[in-house]
Subunit: 213 residues, 2 copies
């Protein structure tokens, strides 16, 4: 029984790591599709979100099963409780990557992002990649130092997000309403992606230390 | 011990109902502040989000405590598992009401919503009120019929949301980029608010029937 219990906890962790890797790849490819107006790549991101959702359901089922059969306490209960929250954040990160891909398709073959903002979205994509990488490591190794670094990356994302609005609200912004709206929504998707990574990171810190930060 | 257990489950339900009522009031007041450009009302919504967050933490603590001390199984475990998810959705609904209030303040004393869209936002506010009311009832009475009705309300919200974009993407839309961006983001806040209510409703259905729908 005890061995099975350990194996279940390891399996939950393995599922979370797979989800984190998948949502990193999803946003990486969504950004690439967005900036190249690549229809095929965007469609792949959308199709593969079903895999992330399937991993999410597997994680939920495993956690539920663990609670029902093993009644974990103390640090093991923290593992399970954390897993529920982290899985929720990761699932949402996958959705946000899918939203980016859908925005790409909506305007295809036009590129949604005007030339003057390509660089900003490239940087947002890089920060998204960085936070997803860090949360993957934090989950797989319970590294609270890396989990704690996510706040700083989130500040960078917020600054990039604000810069989009500053750019749009100047006199020399002559893009269509449709483009302005797309940029505002895309900016929000990246910003929320990083927010969820920060949230997940806080849960990892709680898992390790037993204290909310 | 058994009595304490029952009392704990009742307390969790009471907390969720309080949260649901609070997020209904929050979005109701946020919509009123938005449409009247009422600074005081918007500030109150923002201030009171802390109360919703506090209820959320109380719920989480109570659930954690229940899992640790009582190791619920079967339908009681479903109650606790559902509570975690529903509390997360409700907390997020509170945040979205706060976002509406913040958008109101950003443009004060101007009204963010142009005259031609006042009616649409009034309707979105009404749908938001309706879904919040239904989720409150569904949580307090485990009424799966009401929980199931949320999908239809969500369709109404989605249609209103789409109509905002249709209105903005016509030739006679001459509002500033700032207004277009605000409308796009506000539309999204209302749409997400309803999405979370639908999610919470699905969890209530799972709670009652043991089956995800």
């Amino acid at each position: 029984m005890r061995d099975e219990y350990r194996a279940d906890l390891v399996e939950v962790n393995r599922l979370l790591v797979s989800m984190a890797e998948a949502v990193r790849v999803a946003m990486h490819n969504a950004t690439s599709a967005l900036l190249k107006a690549d229809q095929t790549e965007a469609e792949q991101v959308i199709a593969r979100d079903a895999e992330i959702d399937a991993l999410y359901r597997l994680t939920e089922d495993k956690v539920y099963d663990l609670l029902a059969r093993q009644a974990p306490v103390a640090s093991d209960l923290r593992v399970v409780f954390t897993a529920i929250h982290v899985a929720g954040d990761l699932e949402r990160m996958g959705d946000l990557a899918e939203h980016v891909a859908k925005a790409t398709l909506r305007r295809h073959p036009m590129c949604v992002v005007p030339d003057v903002l390509i660089d900003t979205f490239e940087q947002m994509g890089e920060v998204a990649d960085r936070v997803a990488n860090k949360i993957t490591t934090a989950i797989s190794t319970s590294d609270i130092v890396i989990a704690g670094q996510l706040d700083r990356d989130d500040d960078t994302m917020d600054a990039l997000h604000r810069s989009l609005f500053e750019r749009m609200f100047t006199a020399d912004w002559h893009e269509s309403t449709e483009t302005s709206v797309d940029i505002a929504l895309l900016g929000r998707y990246y910003e929320r992606y990083a927010d969820h990574a920060v949230n997940a990171g806080r849960h990892v810190v709680f898992l390790v230390t037993g204290e909310a930060n």
